[in-house]
Symmetry: C2
Subunit: 201 residues, 2 copies
DNA sequence: CAGCCAGTTGACCGATCGGTCAAGTGGACC
DNA sequence: GGTCCACTTGACCGATCGGTCAACTGGCTG
């Protein structure tokens, strides 16, 4: 007997890895089980369906992987505009690393699955939407902080944050379609350009 | 016997409709055949595989649906900045119409399939990339024209066109994930904002 | 020690997957 | 009229799909 939910965790991790590096539709339950070293019966003991597993894997990915790094990047101690720069750099670094490891740019898992399954599964769509909302919110808070400390002038922080996030999502899709992480290299400059902040060396 | 390639065309249309409104992975060959009113044997008479059908359907969609409207919007007679405005409006109008018809925002088929299959099928990825390149090129030409007639000042038209296209793709992904075509309503304003063109009523 | 129960196992389900194939069908051309 | 061939048809393939189930295991608790 496992003391913790080790089996459950292994399923979540396997699901995230496989789905992120390929797609929701092309990853089977058997495949996930094999990767996790778990029999299918156990899968359905923990999750009522493949869809529920994906939902849980999204939440797990956020809490285990994204939230911690996000807390560092968007920390109050960091100057607002530095947060934006760090954020852009982190996005490039992650995609670059995954590209070097697997030979493919995986893109943003939430945008990819939302884009793939948005018209077919309302639950997956809603979850993807929620995940992206969290990102926009952090950015919006950052813009407000920048406005407050005078490092930026922005009339509508919420709209501006959405615009920047749109740009980032577009860039990630483009990087995936071109299978070239270097597309994201120019992201920081583009973001600051749109923000109207003079670009330094 | 059919005089033209009617069967082939029906397969292409059915494939485009089904894949665009759901996804590549969740549409089966049987489903496409049923929609087209064609038996599976005929399918494999015209196309060696499902992937080849999708590739051909992409090209068909461009030539039959996109190119003609694109020729109107990006016509030399239209003032460059008007082309940009018409283009944004056409994107919104199309997604809005499809949303009203099916209850879902389908997004950009090339970006969606590229995003879904980019890591699994090099051929589909390349084709998606090519399709998006065509769009960027039209936009780039438009920016050069705007530069030439003095309606716009832009230092690097190619980079600017790519940036705008990134923004549009991001907005379409967002519209699909949120299943709300109204997300694209603000597209025109955002594009002109990024271009530095004062927004009129 | 007995009994409970979360968790594990592997066999099994019908449906569907992408794809094959041999046998037609019928118009065009000689 | 005969032959050819693009095209059509429906049965069929093994593999895989998501999901079910009864039997089993073993640690914890009363």
């Amino acid at each position: 007997m496992t003391r913790t939910n080790e089996t459950r965790d292994k399923l979540l991790q396997a699901a995230l890895d496989l789905i992120w590096s390929s797609s929701y539709g092309s990853v089977g339950v058997d495949q996930i089980c094999e990767r996790a070293g778990v029999k299918k019966g156990s899968f359905y003991h923990f999750f009522p369906s493949k869809e529920d597993l994906a939902l849980a894997a999204f939440e797990e990915h956020w809490q285990r992987d994204i939230q911690p790094e996000s807390d560092r990047i968007f920390a109050p101690e960091v100057a607002p505009l530095d947060r934006v720069a760090l954020w852009c750099d982190a996005i490039y670094a992650e995609q670059k690393q995954l590209f070097d490891a697997h030979g493919h740019v995986p893109g943003c898992p939430f945008a990819c699955i939302g884009s793939e399954m948005g018209t077919q599964s309302e639950r997956l769509r809603r979850k993807s939407e929620e995940m992206l909302e969290r990102g926009v919110f952090q950015l919006e808070r950052t813009l407000r902080d920048a406005q407050r400390d005078g490092s930026l002038t922005v009339v509508d922080p919420a709209a501006r944050a959405r615009l920047l996030y749109t740009l980032v999502m577009g860039a990630m899709v483009q990087a995936k379609v071109e299978n070239d992480p270097e597309v994201l290299r120019s992201l920081r400059g583009q973001i600051f350009d749109v923000l109207g902040v003079p670009q330094l060396a």
